[in-house]
Symmetry: C2
Subunit: 287 residues, 2 copies
């Protein structure tokens, strides 16, 4: 156990508390990660997490570790705890030589870390969260869009903006002014007539992370007959939305209750989607 | 000694070969680095490297380590070797909690690694290098521009482009089409009439790294009465330049001998600047 009593880690499957000083993850953020909610020892949505992780490795040009190994490591750390978070980091591995160039002979490093479930405002699920729009804008690079890679300085700077202390989350615009996502969430807008509402979420084609819970919400909404769209969205769309909600793999859905100066009520579509997701979140079956 | 016999490392001043699995450098690339050429045990341009490093830490919102400590660690690793490279990485430190948020109580981690001087084509200094323009474009984010931070996936992807195998370096354009720099070098264009030439290098205001050797070349050129400019430049400026050269802290100046399909001769201004820099590179005084 490291850092605090509640944190525990495996590196390449063995209990350890440090990684090689030559790991390309340390040098360049050359890797991808997943944050997996585990309930009663069962990792939630693990297949979707591992699928995105493997896609990320391949997009960065290296072979993902065997999913059985990753699965076993997450399950080992989840143990029998009622609630825990397991973070998986997979880097390209130890550098063969100095510099950015890739030899192709690197062996991916698997890091799995168990963290305690965070203490949080449980009312957020019900009453909604306070959200602001970050001043810093995300650079746009389609080659990295969607990946949960380890180059996260932009998210750190956005979280650190002094005006952000009171908000639960900061929404991010991209350099060209498009609405993208939050620092650790995806964002959905609800509009359309009450009898046939529509949910829209920004296309993750220029920057941002394509969240696992975003994918689940799009799938479940579609199954429930709700119109869904992934498209270019702008701050004006945010201002015009009847309901706004955020998603991530741990919290499921957070209604947005405050958006800058504007107060919103968690609306019927957000509530309906929360109800649809509840079985998945509370009694997780894989995927 | 780690990795190979020639590599040696200090972490927070003590010989070590691994860093905490909770280090924010590993998780997020949350740090900055410098690559320092050391000749006969003397680190070249160390004050400029340490100045940029400290500026990078402050821009990312954390206190840089004491420069005396960093200086001592670089000098210790440089030892009495004829030629060595010392890489310094300074991260925000071990995470206090999971997630992007910064507590302000983190303690920066100092990593210093000695590498052997690379085996290279020494003719490159004379005959020039072959350069191509990368297909991938850099995302633009003024908040990170200029810093030698540890979020380097873009550089890794650009280096890895399959068509790049034969080129010594790939030049990078930004998302909006501006010429920025190479993956590990800065770029200079020479034009103007032969009796009063001008050297121009891209302004590093949207993305890219503001190299230490770039700064030295601008300073030395200016002292020698050569007109210099840092400004917005485009691929057409590259095509129109009489001479093109690259700079970095290790190699000094590489003339560009081939640019895609175009062959260039290393020209008189490039040669003059190489001559001006020679004392600094071969008998390094600090800064």
């Amino acid at each position: 156990m490291i850092g605090s009593d509640a944190v525990s880690a495996l590196i390449d499957g063995a209990a350890a508390d440090s990684v090689s000083v030559l790991d390309r993850g340390l040098h360049f953020g050359d890797g991808v990660f997943e944050t997996i909610a585990c309930l009663h020892g069962r990792p939630r949505l693990l297949s979707l997490h591992l699928e995105r992780l493997a896609h990320g490795c391949r997009t960065l040009g290296f072979s993902p570790p065997a999913s059985q190994a990753l699965r076993a490591e997450v399950e080992q750390l989840a143990g029998t705890q009622e609630r825990a978070i397991v973070k998986l980091i997979v880097t390209r591995g130890t550098a063969i030589a100095r510099g950015y160039a890739v030899s192709g002979r690197e062996q991916a490093t698997r890091v799995a870390i168990r963290y305690p479930w965070p203490v949080e405002e449980t009312a957020w699920q019900q009453r909604g969260v306070s959200v602001r729009v970050a001043a810093m804008r995300l650079g746009e690079n389609p080659a990295l869009a969607g990946l949960k890679h380890c180059n996260r300085l932009e998210q750190i700077l956005a979280r650190s903006e002094p005006e952000g202390a009171a908000a639960a989350e900061a929404l991010l615009l991209s350099r060209s002014g498009r609405l993208v996502c939050g620092t650790m969430t995806n964002v959905f807008l609800v509009d359309g007539p009450p009898q046939s509402p529509r949910i829209r979420t920004p296309a993750i084609d220029l920057c941002g992370v394509a969240g696992v819970m975003r994918r689940v919400v799009l799938r479940e909404a579609s199954r429930a007959g709700i119109d869904t769209a992934e498209c270019a969205l702008w701050p004006a769309d945010l201002d015009g939305a009847a309901e706004v909600f955020l998603t991530n793999a741990r919290v499921g859905i957070w209604p947005v209750g405050r958006l800058g100066e504007r107060t919103l009520e968690p609306g019927p579509v957000t509530r309906r989607l929360q109800t649809l997701l509840r079985p998945l979140l509370e009694e997780p079956a894989d995927a």
